[in-house]
């Protein structure tokens, strides 16, 4: 964090704002590694955008990807290909849908990379501009406030119940979508039954009961959720500090104060 000096009134007037606080989420920009965002888009087109705070684009891409992936059976084909069963892979893909996937995938990766690079520049400008943010927002249905939260607690909740971590850090849209999505995947993939059978050692049954097409969504979901929650918590903590520092500098450094000695 750069040392804070008493800044005069910003001349740029929120031209490059740091963030926007609504009652269901605090959406803001901060520096990130564009390759990392691009990677998350690789695991699941749309995740990169959600990580950036571009919810609208992210949800669109996710829906788009889901529909195509499930109908074209891309995940199934991936599993067959990686395990060397290439004939099965060829049969599994539905040719009516398969080619649509390429566009979604490449676009998501490209766009999230490009957006990250752009937003990094704006985040530097925003930090230099010191535009004020009100650290609390109460609306009819929800209350949101800046706070320092423990990233590991958020991680733990995300592992136990994906989506809960996001509720803890107060990013409700992501939390809600992740939760719904996780329940859907668990149900269609029969992953929880697999957990039961695996725990009992009945491995043949464990494998037989699952639907591989849906199972392969799980790693991407878990990985992304754990990453997003951690990054958000750490960055929210920083945002809290920056906002409070600015408040103190603006209000409690009166030139009339008599310095000691």
């Amino acid at each position: 964090m750069v040392s804070i000096q008493n800044t005069t009134q910003s001349i740029r007037n929120q031209r490059r704002p740091k963030g926007y606080i609504s009652s269901i989420a605090t959406n803001f920009i901060h520096k990130r590694n564009p390759w990392v965002t691009a990677w998350w888009s690789c695991t699941f087109p749309g995740f990169g955008h959600i990580s950036l705070g571009s919810y609208a684009k992210g949800f669109l891409l996710i829906t788009w990807e889901l529909i195509i992936n499930v109908h074209a059976k891309i995940n199934l084909a991936i599993i067959y290909s990686f395990t060397g069963r290439f004939e099965l892979a060829k049969h599994a893909l539905d040719k009516r849908w398969a080619l649509l996937y390429a566009g979604v995938f490449v676009y998501a990766v490209f766009d999230s990379y490009r957006s990250t690079v752009d937003l990094n520049k704006f985040s530097i400008l925003a930090d230099r501009e010191h535009s004020p943010i009100i650290p609390m927002k109460i609306s009819t249905l929800e209350i949101n406030y800046f706070d320092k939260r423990n990233p590991w607690v958020a991680e733990a909740w995300s592992i136990l119940m994906p989506g809960a971590g996001h509720l803890y850090t107060h990013r409700l849209p992501t939390g809600f979508v992740v939760l719904v999505w996780y329940i859907m995947i668990s149900y269609f993939s029969h992953s929880l039954e697999c957990v039961h059978y695996s725990a009992l050692g009945a491995f043949k049954q464990a494998i037989a009961v699952t639907d591989p097409q849906w199972m392969l969504f799980l790693p991407s979901l878990f990985g992304f959720v754990m990453y997003d929650v951690y990054v958000n918590t750490v960055e929210y903590n920083k945002l809290f500090e920056i906002e409070q520092a600015k408040f103190l500098v603006d209000n409690y450094q009166d030139p009339v104060f008599e310095m000691p000695l």
Binding site: V2, F82, S191, F203, M215, Q244, Y252, F257
Partner: protein, 155 residues
Amino acid sequence: MYVLASFEYSEYLELAISELELKGIKRERILAVPLGKKTEKAKIFDTISQSDGISLIDSALILGTVFMVLGVIYGYVLKWGPIIWGLIGLIAGAVLGFIIDIIPKKKGQNNKKKVKNKTTEVVILVHCDTNQVDEVENTLMSNFALGIGRLDKRE
């Protein structure tokens, strides 16, 4: 008489200051100086060299996801099934990623002490009368000040 106190950034800091104002200490007699922990050159891309905690988790989670995917895939042909191999993959990948991140840092930054204790982030000076000092100190203490000191103003 001056009372100095150090705080972490938290709501307690604001509670302490507002309580002091309630007790009659005017705003012009309270000075707050937020401390910046380190100066940072604004780098556009590189998260990897910032030691702010996030970079440690990048590689761990990415490799964790990669290996978890592989674990789920190969779990279908191996004995233990996709779930267990998926978990093995996740943990193995995460540990690998963590190690990859930690080693260069340990080599390069041996002189950097890890401060596990709470670090001072804001310094408050309160200019008050001698009879107010105890009250001020109590207010600051009850709001989790990290340290408190007094200074007698020499005329």
